[in-house]
C-alpha cells in the first residue's frame, strides 16, 4: 500500500513506472478534490466526474511523462491537465456536428436559409434551384453544406473514397450554379438543367 505522505519526486518516478499503487493513491487522494474544484468552476457534476475519470485515464496512458516535480506540485499540474480537458471538451461539444445538424434542419425552411449562407443572394432562387436538382445532387449538397460533413465522413456514407465524394460535391455545386444561372436568365427550366446533362441548350 502507498504511504499517506509521499515525496513528489518519488510519486513522479512511480507514476512514470506505471506503478498501479501510485495511480490508486492519486485517484483516492485527488479525485474528490478535483471534482469539487471543477464543479466550483461551473462544470456540471456528472461532467466533472467524467472529466476526472478521463483525466486519470490520461495520466495512466501517458505515464505522467509531462509532470516535472521541480516546476510545480502534483495538484497544480493535475489541475492544469484537467482544465485542458474541460476546455477541449466544451469546445468539442460546441462544434459537435449536431449543432450543424440542428442548423441544417432549420435551413430546410427557406426563410432561415440566410443563417447558413452569407453574401448577397436570392435565397428563394437557390431553394428553387436545389429543388430542381436530382435527389442525389440535393443529398450531396445537404450533407456538405447543410450538415457540414467532411469528404471523409461523406465517403463513409457513399461507400466511396474521400476524393470521389469531393468530386460528387464539385459536380453537384456546378449543376446548382448552372441551374441558378438558368433560372436567372430563362426562368424555370425544369429538372436536370445543368452542365453534362442531355437537355442542355
Amino acid at each position: 500500500m502507498f504511504e499517506a505522505k509521499i515525496d513528489s519526486h518519488e510519486l513522479a518516478e512511480r507514476l512514470r513506472a506505471r506503478d498501479e499503487d501510485a495511480y490508486e493513491f492519486v485517484i483516492e487522494s485527488y479525485s474528490r478534490r478535483l471534482i469539487r474544484y471543477l464543479t466550483r468552476l461551473g462544470v456540471p457534476s456528472d461532467e466533472a466526474n467524467d472529466i476526472c475519470a478521463d483525466c486519470m485515464l490520461k495520466l495512466w496512458k501517458t505515464s505522467c511523462e509531462n509532470y516535472d516535480p521541480n516546476l510545480s506540485s502534483f495538484w497544480t499540474w493535475l489541475r492544469k491537465v484537467a482544465l485542458n480537458l474541460v476546455r477541449d471538451r466544451v469546445r468539442r461539444n460546441q462544434h459537435a456536428k449536431f449543432v450543424a445538424l440542428d442548423k441544417a434542419r432549420r435551413l430546410l425552411d427557406p426563410k432561415t436559409v440566410d443563417e447558413k449562407y452569407s453574401g448577397k443572394c436570392d435565397w428563394e432562387l437557390v431553394e428553387k434551384a436545389l429543388e430542381s436538382l436530382d435527389t442525389s445532387d440535393q443529398e450531396v449538397i445537404n450533407l456538405k453544406y447543410g450538415y457540414g460533413l467532411t469528404y471523409d465522413e461523406m465517403s463513409q456514407i457513399f461507400d466511396s473514397s474521400p476524393a470521389a465524394a469531393g468530386m460528387r460535391v464539385t459536380r453537384a455545386v456546378q449543376r446548382l450554379r448552372s441551374t441558378i444561372e438558368g433560372l436567372k436568365n430563362n426562368g424555370p427550366r425544369g429538372p436536370n438543367y445543368g452542365p453534362g446533362r442531355s437537355d442542355s441548350p
Partner: protein, 165 residues
C-alpha cells in the same frame, strides 16, 4: 508564464466557453414524428471509429446529450429500455454487466464502430481497475473480453458490416 498563471488563464478561457455553451444549451430537444424517423436521422451520421480518450459511459451520455435527444425517444427507437440506457450511461455499472444486445442496438443507432466500443470498454476496465472497484481483475477481464466477443458476434449476425470491418 508559470503553472499558476496558466491555470488562471485556462479558468478564464473555460468561463468564456461556458457562456457560449449556455446559449447552445437552450436549443429545444430534437423531436421526431416517428421512432423510425429518429433512427433514419441517426443512421445518417458518420461512423465513430477513432474516438477521444474516454470510457464507454461518458461517451454514450455525451453522444445523446450533444445530439439533443430525448431518452424516451431513443429508448423507443432502439427498442432498449430507458433504464438500460441510463445504466450504460452511468459509470456506476460496468458495461459488461449489461446485455450485449442492448449495446449492439445503441451502437447501430449511434454509428459506433466495434473498434471504438472495444477501445472505450477497455478504458472503462482500466479506470475500474485503477480505482480498485473490482475484487478479481483477471476474472473481470475475462468477462469483459467475452462481452466484447458477444457484441462483435451479434453485430456480425445483424450484418452490420460497416460497423465491424
Amino acid at each position: 508564464m508559470d503553472h499558476e498563471d496558466q491555470i488562471t488563464d485556462l479558468e478564464d478561457q473555460i468561463r468564456l466557453e461556458f457562456q457560449r455553451d449556455n446559449a447552445l444549451s437552450k436549443r429545444p430537444v430534437f423531436k421526431f414524428k416517428t421512432p423510425s424517423d429518429l433512427l433514419v436521422f441517426l443512421t445518417r451520421l458518420p461512423i465513430s471509429r477513432n474516438v477521444e480518450l474516454t470510457s464507454l459511459s461518458p461517451f454514450l451520455r455525451r453522444f445523446r446529450r450533444n445530439a439533443n435527444l430525448d431518452l424516451q425517444d431513443v429508448s423507443i427507437a432502439v427498442k432498449v429500455p430507458a433504464s438500460t440506457i441510463i445504466q450504460f450511461e452511468s459509470a456506476d455499472l460496468l458495461p459488461w454487466n449489461l446485455p450485449p444486445s442492448a449495446m449492439v442496438a445503441l451502437a447501430y443507432a449511434y454509428r459506433i464502430h466495434i473498434e471504438a466500443i472495444d477501445f472505450l470498454t477497455r478504458n472503462s476496465y482500466q479506470i475500474a481497475r485503477l480505482s480498485k472497484k473490482m475484487a478479481d481483475p483477471s476474472a473481470v477481464h475475462g468477462s469483459m473480453s467475452q462481452w466484447l466477443e458477444a457484441v462483435r458476434a451479434e453485430m456480425n449476425a445483424r450484418g452490420e458490416l460497416t460497423l465491424t470491418t
